[in-house]
Amino acid sequence: MIAGRENRKEPSLGALVLAQGGDFVPPGVGDFFLPPIVGGVTKPMVLVVLSVVIVAAFFLIASRNLKVVPGKLQYAAESVYDFGRNNIARDQIGSADFRPFVPLILALFTFILVNNLFGIIPLIQFPTFSHIGFPLALSLLVVYPVYHIAGFRRHGFTGYLKNQLFPAGAPKPIYLLLTPIEFFQKFVMNPITLAIRVFAAMFAGHLILLVFTLAGSYLLLEASAVLKPVSLISWAFAILMTFVEALIQVIQAYVFAVLSAGYIGMALAEDH
């Protein structure tokens, strides 16, 4: 992180001099776009691949020899699987149709969870989903087509559109207002809000951690002797915020999976 910051300022000799001169440079967008490690490969790219390896290895090893009475590792894997399957997929989609979507919901939940938790894991400390490209890939190119295709398959083309755009039970003139809103929400905004929600939370969270951590080191190294102890307060806040971040990261992964399952459930439902 620190190295990255120095790298970022490398092209500007003036900035480097200024930083050495003792001015506090607040962390910014630049801290999220560090130069590539090798060639075109950046840190988030490596982390995304790592997350796939971690999740796949965890589930493959834990499910290698499943027993009716589970061991410790199997119990852990089963808890995660059970959570994705029953608490998210089945609750949102309904017990009649949820089975085909279990792999998708489970993959979404675990993939986002691990990538988010990268934000507070020592040495890694970067939430991959603070780069909007990753959540957007999932929401726009995976979840969005999946729920619309599921809906079209279930109700037919016009049936699905009628179901989605003309919710039953409203007085006729209301549809003038309701239908454009429903269309805008379901066909335009849903995938975007889905991606932005997790992106923004991760971006902001990482920024807050950066502010407290960098401020702490700045206060310790550059401030006058009277202010140096304040760095401890700053770091204490950084630690506190790390715990808050852990909570937010889990919640965001859960929310993404729940909303995805919810969209699928709404697309499949007869009326809502």
């Binding site: 440079v25 999740v55 589930f59 493959l60 009716v68 279990v102 957007l136």
Partner: protein, 180 residues
């Protein structure tokens, strides 16, 4: 200070705009993970769930079957018990009838025997009586004649006379005997 911001703004990427490379990588990475979960992990867990459900259902089914079997055995036992009871009652009744029959038979037999013994005794008595009467009669005749001949002093040799006297005496005796 101002220069840094300007420089930074120039080289900084707008965080709201996605990088195409990241969209592509995210999609591929997620696709691989999804494939692994869909192809290997989920089927394994689903199979486990099924096995577990089967085991539980199998256990319940087995228990139900055992219960039904026990119920059947109980009913069979009850039926047998009832059958045995009626049979025992029947046997008891039969035995009672038999005993009554045997008792009646024995009584009849004993009665017949008693009657026979009584009849026998009577016959014997009659025979003895007859014999004794005959004996007495002849002896009495002789004794009377002897006594009479002694008293009278004359021999009642006359056959006809003697016979008549004796007969008369006996007839008298008979009438007194009958009166008594």
């Amino acid at each position: 200070m101002l220069m840094t911001y300007v420089l930074a703004a120039e080289e900084e990427h707008n965080p709201v705009l996605p990088l195409p490379s990241e969209i592509a990588l995210g999609l591929v990475a997620f696709g691989i993970l999804l494939f692994i979960l869909w192809k290997y992990v989920v089927p394994r867990f689903e199979k486990l769930y099924e096995e577990r459900a089967e085991k539980i259902e199998g256990g319940i089914e087995k228990a139900e079957k055992a219960q039904a079997e026990a119920e059947q055995a109980r009913q069979q036992f009850n039926a047998q018990l009832a059958e045995a009871r009626t049979e025992a009652a029947k046997i008891r009744d039969d035995a009672r009838l038999e005993a009554e029959r045997i008792r009646d038979e024995l009584r009849a037999e004993a009665e017949a025997e008693a009657a026979r013994i009584v009849a026998n005794g009577e016959a014997q008595l009659q025979a003895q009586k007859a014999q004794i009467i005959a004996e007495l009669r002849s002896e009495l005749g002789r004794n009377s004649v002897e006594l009479a001949s002694r008293i009278v002093g004359e021999s009642l040799e006359d056959e006809a006379r003697r016979k008549g006297t004796v007969d008369r005496f006996i007839a008298e005796l008979d009438t007194t005997g009958a009166r008594n």
